[in-house]
């Protein structure tokens, strides 16, 4: 249970207002920072906050608050907390809540609600936020009495962090905050009659899995977000080193298994490596660990990995057979299941399969992209690769959504879990900057880099002001191509090159940084990248670098939405011609 906070005076048994009880409960749940925005219906809670050892970060928009709580949770593995008022304050949280829901992020959102006697009267700033958030939360509560507040917040944290994590909304009426009651806090185990997150696999499923692994000639293992969440990295390494099964990662699984490990093939799916998708299509066994066969991973389901038997190790029973029919489902968390399997699988060298993969890898990869000519142009891939080299792969990188997100996944090699934060499931533009602020609060000693596009940055750039007010340092690399790049790419490929509503005029980002008394740098040539990155790392306070990259570059390779996984669009390669584009497929570091 939560250790008592030494800064917290013991007020159990005293009569406290609901507003005080909110903070009593949060502190007891281990919260020391929360992200929010005050307003009428949550004012009593804000008024009481000052008495508690909690740092409140004032955001510039409630969406920023929910993304910050999300970023905090992803970086730390703890529950992130955001707080907002009723009505528009609460609805502004919703994008961030949905983002957390799709990526299974533990989060508790406290919202104010109009006084209980006004509920249903269309009162000023009244929104049915529990109704609104049913589809995008793991669970939610409407609290109308002070005495319900402490047990509800306890339950909310328990639900948010246990099992497959997710966001929980606690909507508290203003009168519940204003009433007083005797504060009670229980430390016993929470038992909810309808909620049991503890799953045990069946012995025969484990046996079936071992048998399949034993007989497989061309196995491949998928490492998903569940590996990161279950802290299964070490167990997975042992498993892979014993069995020599090559590993492919999902976007959210990057870092769960070291990118530079010889058995790691890279990312799978729509913008995955060609050889990974090819290996999947030719595999005779897939061991999917903590992933959910998203459509961006599988492509056309009818032709997906038809020759492969499938073992699905997954915490959430509702994911079993949802998209892909599997032969052996094993419900449980990644680390527990891998640990159970480990002693029963055979040591194996599989020289033929590994040699075959090396062969298909060798044919399509450029060994070291840093030696490729830039022809005086600035490519996003070069920027991200240089960033990877200069930060020695150790930065905590937070990406937004779009082309830069895919380039980051391809060129920034993540060797450690929880060092890549990105909105994978919902694909929320505007996520990166606020999520990075949250991550920085969780990991103040990490070098935090935002990589975002010019479009996504402008969605939440107001949070630069939060950076300035909080005096925190994140480095922002804007991959500025003057377009909504991924949409432009789809228009180029699939909509006859009609660039509708994708060219984008942006403000001068250096001046934007300047206006916040922050540092802004513009980079137009590759030769300037290193200096800019070094300067950003050395500068106190948040730095914004405006990388003016090639405008009409595309992310390759690509599986068009719904196409067969093996059916990839490769980068047009015209060596020697003037418009020769130097970046092929994805690169590998030396």
């Amino acid at each position: 249970m939560t250790p008592a906070n030494p800064k917290l005076e013991n007020r159990i048994g005293e009569s406290l207002s609901g507003a005080h009880i909110i903070w009593e409960a949060l502190v007891r749940e281990g919260v020391d920072v929360c992200f929010g925005y005050p307003g009428g219906a949550i004012m009593p809670a804000y008024d009481a906050m000052i008495e508690y050892p909690i740092h409140h970060v004032l955001t510039r928009h409630e969406q920023g608050a929910s993304h910050m709580a999300d970023g905090y949770a992803r970086a730390s593995g703890e529950v992130g907390v955001c707080i907002a008022t009723s009505g528009p304050g609460a609805t502004n949280l919703v994008t961030g809540i949905a983002t957390a829901m799709l990526d299974s992020i533990p989060m508790v959102c406290i919202t104010g609600q109009v006084p209980s006697q006004l509920i249903g009267s269309d009162a000023f700033q009244e929104t049915d936020i529990t109704g609104c958030t049913i589809p995008v939360t793991k669970h939610n509560y409407l609290v109308t009495k002070a005495e319900q507040i402490a047990p509800t917040i306890r339950e909310a944290f328990y639900i948010a962090r246990s099992g497959r994590p997710g966001p929980v909304v606690v909507d508290i009426t203003k009168d519940a905050q204003q009433q007083s009651c005797v504060f009670e806090w229980k430390d016993d185990e929470i038992v909810l009659p309808g909620y049991r997150p503890d799953y045990a696999p069946l012995a025969e499923q484990l046996e079936d899995a071992v048998e399949l692994i034993k007989n497989a000639k061309r196995p491949i293992l998928f490492s998903g977000h569940g590996v990161v969440k279950a802290q299964a990295t070490e167990t997975l390494m042992e498993f892979v080193e014993k069995t020599n099964i090559p590993v492919a990662c999902t976007l959210l699984g990057l870092g769960g298994f070291p990118a530079t490990h010889p058995r790691n093939l890279g990312m799978m799916g729509m913008h995955g490596e060609i050889w990974v998708n090819k290996a999947i299509q030719e595999a005779d066994l897939i061991i999917a660990v903590g992933m959910r066969f998203d459509d961006r991973v599988t492509g056309n389901l009818k032709t997906y990995a038809q020759n492969a038997k499938k073992i699905h190790i997954e915490l959430d029973p509702a994911e079993i057979n949802k998209n892909v029919h599997v032969d052996v489902p094993i419900v449980g968390d990644a680390r527990t299941i891998l640990k159970k399997l480990l002693p029963h699988v055979d040591k194996c060298d599989r020289p033929e399969w590994l040699a075959y993969i090396e062969k298909i890898q060798g044919g399509s990869t450029v060994k070291d992209i840093k030696n490729l000519p830039d022809m005086g142009k600035l490519y996003a891939a070069h920027v991200i690769h240089d960033l990877y080299r200069l930060t020695e792969g150790k930065a905590l990188v937070v990406t937004d959504v779009g082309q830069h997100q895919m380039w980051e996944a391809q060129y920034y090699k993540h060797d450690y879990p929880r060092k890549l934060i990105t909105s994978g499931g919902l694909g929320t533009m505007g996520f990166a900057l606020p999520a990075a602020i949250g991550a920085k609060f969780a990991k103040p000693d990490d070098s935090v880099w935002v990589i975002c596009g010019d479009g996504g940055f402008q969605m939440t750039q107001a949070e630069l002001s939060t950076c300035a007010q909080e005096g925190i340092k994140v480095n922002v690399a804007i991959i500025n191509n003057g377009f909504l790049g991924m949409v432009r790419q789809w228009q180029e490929f699939f909509f006859g090159g009609r660039y509708v509503a994708t060219p984008m005029l942006s403000p001068d980002f250096v001046k934007i940084a300047d206006a916040h008394a922050l540092t802004g740098i513009r980079v137009e040539k590759r030769s300037e990248v290193e200096e800019a990155v070094r300067k950003a790392e050395a500068t106190e306070g948040t730095v914004v670098i405006d990388f003016r990259v090639e405008q009409e570059d595309s992310v390759y390779p690509m599986v068009p939405a719904g196409a067969d996984l093996g059916d990839m669009i490769e980068r047009p390669h015209k060596p020697g011609t003037h418009d020769h584009n130097p970046i092929f497929e994805t690169g590998e570091d030396d």
Partner: protein, 180 residues
């Protein structure tokens, strides 16, 4: 893939505000089409019982069950489609009926074990309970007389015999695996 058939789920839920909304919302957002949904109190305080009928094959039925279990307020889900069970709907049917037709309609009611519960000079109201197909049978026989109004409940269902769990009200088992 097995065939899509009409499935009947008995779902025990906590009797709390908004639970019906949560369950209905789940079916809507996962595109599980509900044929009928019935909810009412049980003999146990604080526990309501839903009977949900929907089309699903075996895989989908398991996912419906697993998704229902993900809801914090859902206590127990029983797919009773293939169990020995009693299924009932209740219908009230108001039919045109003049003096000359009364005998015939009352005989029809006898055949279907339905009851006349209200009568006026030119119409009659009939109550029937039974499985859905029996109700549909009666309706089709009455249709030529001219049906003025029809209202029916969704299915309520109960398995025959003694429940294996033997609990006053069942809760989620400690260790379960819907993938079995």
């Amino acid at each position: 893939m097995s065939q899509s058939v009409k499935r009947t789920f008995a779902v025990f839920v906590e009797d709390k505000p908004g639970v019906l909304n949560r369950v209905a919302s789940l079916f809507r957002r996962r595109s599980f089409n509900i044929d009928s949904l019935n909810v009412g109190a049980t003999h146990e305080a604080g526990v309501s019982r839903m009977t949900i009928v929907c089309d699903a094959d075996d895989d989908k039925a398991k996912r419906i069950e697993a998704n229902l279990y993900k809801m914090v307020n859902v206590l127990w889900v029983d797919d009773i489609t293939h169990k020995q069970s009693i299924n009932r709907v209740l219908a009230l049917i108001k039919v045109n009926c003049n003096r000359d037709q009364r005998d015939e309609i009352l005989k029809i009611c006898d055949v279907f074990r339905a009851r006349a519960i209200d009568m006026s000079p030119d119409r009659i109201t009939i109550e029937i309970t039974g499985p859905q197909d029996k109700v549909e049978g009666l309706v089709s026989v009455l249709r030529p007389f001219g049906i003025l109004e029809l209202v029916q409940t969704g299915t309520v269902a109960m398995t025959r015999g003694v429940e294996k769990h033997g609990l006053a009200h069942p809760t989620v088992p400690a260790s379960r695996n819907s993938a079995v």
